[in-house]
């Protein structure tokens, strides 16, 4: 079947070419670069979509419920966001910030467990499971976009403080716009993460009533890990909100947004390290990656 021939390498390579085009903005001007960049990003997104569709159709359990699928879905959302932002603001090099994260997520997906969740057997559990996963996607996308806006804010503010004109091919949005994005994404991330945490607890409680074997133990480190993430995001949003009308408020918010991405990276790495009944088996061995590439 044609779709089974699409691999992670197909769309990762397309995104990598688009990233190379973005980076070349800093070196030289080109009349055709935008077309090449958007062309490769679109081709990558199409292959990515078909790959996810094929995965969803081929899985026997709940479609796209494994950690690997969730990372690929997250990468897909960010790649789609990149394409939209690039078409809307062709002069802003948003891909220099977003595409490396997309590629890292695709890389993470190849290491992550790819067994669909076996816990969600009935329609109620599945509905809660989908809700829980969707909220996870919302807060992670918000964290990434907030971090990108934060990094751009710091670069733009640094340039303005040095009183230098904009670098060729590296024109950032205004501080006002970036600050708005940072504040909104931090708030969305905090609320969506909290909701994801609560929905996860509700889902687990439903499963627990059916029998302890079908649920995640309440002492599982996944729950602790998510609790810490939620706590960080709520504190970060609270601090940003409290400092909003202070002279250094936006700078602190920018740092909080960037650090949130690092916390997210640590959160993902921790997920690889701890054994859990949540979301399938442990990380795949490297040998399995060869299979994925095929």
């Amino acid at each position: 079947m044609f779709l089974s021939g699409i691999s992670v390498v197909c769309f990762a390579a397309s995104y990598a070419v688009a990233l190379g085009c973005e980076a070349s903005r800093l070196l030289f001007r080109s009349g055709v670069r935008s077309m090449v960049m958007v062309g490769f990003a679109s081709a990558g997104l199409l292959a990515h979509t078909l790959y996810l569709g094929w995965r969803a159709a081929a899985e026997s359990a709940v479609p796209l419920s494994s950690p690997a699928d969730l990372y690929l879905l997250l990468a897909w959302l960010l790649a789609a966001g990149y394409l939209w932002l690039t078409l809307a603001n062709p002069r802003t090099p948003v891909g220099l910030f977003l595409l490396p994260i997309v590629l890292v997520l695709v890389g993470v997906a190849t290491f992550a467990p790819d067994v669909p969740s076996p816990l969600l057997q009935d329609s109620t559990s599945r509905a809660w499971g989908w809700f829980h996963a969707a909220l996870h996607l919302v807060w992670t996308v918000a964290v990434v976009l907030g971090a990108v806006a934060g990094a751009m804010w710091l670069i733009q503010a640094g340039r303005l403080a040095r009183k230098r004109p904009p670098t060729r091919g590296f024109r950032m949005p205004s501080l006002e716009r970036l600050a708005l994005v940072m504040h909104r994404t931090l708030a969305i991330a905090a609320w969506a993460a909290a909701a994801a945490f609560v929905s996860g607890i509700i889902l687990n409680a439903i499963q627990y009533r059916r029998g302890a074997a079908e649920s995640v133990p309440w002492t599982d480190l996944v729950i602790v890990r998510m609790g810490i993430m939620v706590l960080w995001l709520i504190v970060a949003d609270g601090v940003a909100l409290a400092l909003r009308r202070r002279p250094r408020g936006d700078r602190v918010t920018a740092w909080l947004a960037v650090v949130s991405l690092l916390v997210l990276a640590g959160w993902i790495a921790w997920g690889f390290a701890i054994p859990s009944r949540h979301g399938g088996s442990a990380a795949r061995p490297v040998v399995a990656l060869v299979e994925v590439a095929r």
């Binding site: 001007r29 009349g31 733009q156 004109p165 205004s174 009308r245 202070r246 250094r248 408020g249």
Partner: protein, 433 residues
């Protein structure tokens, strides 16, 4: 419109001067208004019948582009200099030392560079392209444009468009007000429509900056001046709101963007005074464009969080960086100009071969027709379809035979008029002059 034949060898001449060669005082006397330029072109048409001319006159240059037969008097630079001097009531001897004279390919290269802003006082400035278009339009209306100047000016517009699109020569801003608004204030604020602009004093630089801010959407503008009556007068002129100088602290607390150009000999706003004002601003960002010399704002104010303070020197340094950035694009721009010049010259040289090619085609066609007539008479049973097939086969055969010499002529045209090949063709096929 003149109908100077482009098919025969035509020569291009340019006489004129720019800010690089002609002193301002003489440039002012040499400059043509639109009406004067139209009248001058009318005089050119009467004085040099059958020749083409376009007169480009701007603040920084006056250039007369002429085209015609090589033996035409109009193509002699001395005649053209004398013509320009007559038109402006100047002595030819005064113009002689400062006027440039350029011929043929160099004229094309020069015009392409001028249209792309590469010869402008501010490298890459875009207004010159409009002025080149205007000069061409005026010459068309005056009836002094012919096939050569029309082709050359169209090619100049194309070359200028390529330079704009493919290089950064005209991209970065180079004036202090435009850099202040586009590269700094617009990097802090997404929109100026909901921002409060405060003008302290109203020097020329401030009013120019305000013009850019208005273009960017600024609506709420307050003018503050030491003299209340002057503030009212300025506010009326700039469509702004007047304010008393005693309200400076309150106005600064409410403002988002300040443009300051007082003539004060000391700082108007000290660091201590501003600290007190900052505490009332609730952390809102403030952009201060301090365009006064000496400066109106204590430079240490720029170290406070969320205050973006720029002095004239800061902005001038940014302009200089942008100018250097434009300069770095020059090699790419010059490469485009060279490429377009060579393409235009090749086309121009190739056009000189048109009469020979026409004669060659006509001769072959005539011979072919005669042979076909003879053949059809000897084969009267041929139907219309067969005759058409045979005729088409003859035409294809002739076209294929003609193809190699035509390719050779085009190829030879790239390095100059292909006189040798044209003479050879004339002799080989016994073509007339």
């Amino acid at each position: 419109m003149t109908t100077a034949p482009a098919s025969t060898a035509t020569t291009l001449t340019l006489v004129g001067g720019s800010h690089r060669t002609v002193p301002l005082e003489l440039r002012e006397r040499l400059a043509f208004s639109t009406e004067q330029a139209a009248a001058a072109l009318g005089r050119f048409r009467d004085r040099f019948p059958g020749c083409e001319a376009v007169l480009l006159s701007t603040c920084n240059r006056v250039e007369l582009y002429a085209a015609g037969e090589p033996e035409s008097a109009a193509l002699e630079a001395a005649s053209l200099v004398s013509f320009l001097a007559d038109c402006r009531g100047l002595e030819t001897a005064r113009l002689e030392p400062v006027i440039s004279r350029v011929q043929d390919e160099a004229v094309v290269r020069h015009l392409f560079g001028v249209a792309a802003g590469l010869d402008s006082m501010v490298l890459g400035e875009p207004q010159i392209l409009g002025q080149v278009k205007q000069a061409w339009t005026l010459a068309r209306e005056a009836g002094t444009v012919g096939p050569l100047t029309a082709g050359m000016f169209q090619a100049a517009l194309r070359a200028a468009k390529r330079v704009t699109n493919e290089t950064g020569v005209g991209r970065e801003r180079t004036s202090i007000p435009s850099v202040a608004v586009a590269d700094f204030a617009a990097a802090v604020f997404e929109t100026f429509a909901d921002k409060r602009v405060l003008l302290i004093g109203a020097g020329k630089m401030a009013t120019e900056t305000l013009r850019y801010l208005r273009e960017a959407g600024a609506r709420d503008v307050t003018v503050l001046n030491r003299t209340a009556s002057r503030a009212v007068e300025l506010a009326a002129r700039l469509a702004a709101r007047p304010a008393a100088f005693t309200d400076l602290a309150d106005e600064l607390a409410a403002a988002d963007l300040v443009v300051s150009t007082t003539g004060a000999e000391e700082s108007v706003v000290s660091l201590e005074a501003f600290r007190e004002i900052a505490s009332r601003r609730e952390g809102r960002p403030l952009v201060v464009l301090d365009l006064a010399v000496p400066r109106d704002f204590d430079p240490q104010i720029g170290d406070l969080p969320n205050v973006w303070l720029y002095s004239v020197d800061d902005l001038a340094a940014a302009c200089d960086a942008n100018r250097k950035s434009r300069q770095r694009e020059m090699p790419a721009a010059l490469a485009i100009i060279e490429e377009e010049t060579l393409r235009f010259m090749a086309d121009m040289h190739h056009r000189t071969t048109a009469p020979v090619i026409e004669q060659l085609k006509a001769g072959w066609s005539e011979t072919g027709e005669a042979e076909l007539e003879r053949l059809f008479r000897r084969l009267p049973d041929l139907g219309e379809t067969e005759q058409t097939e045979i005729r088409q086969a003859f035409e294809r055969y002739a076209a294929k035979l003609l193809h190699p010499p035509l390719v050779s002529l085009r190829s030879e045209s790239r390095s100059g008029p292909p006189h040798g090949l044209v003479d050879a063709l004339k002799r080989l096929f016994q073509l007339g002059e």
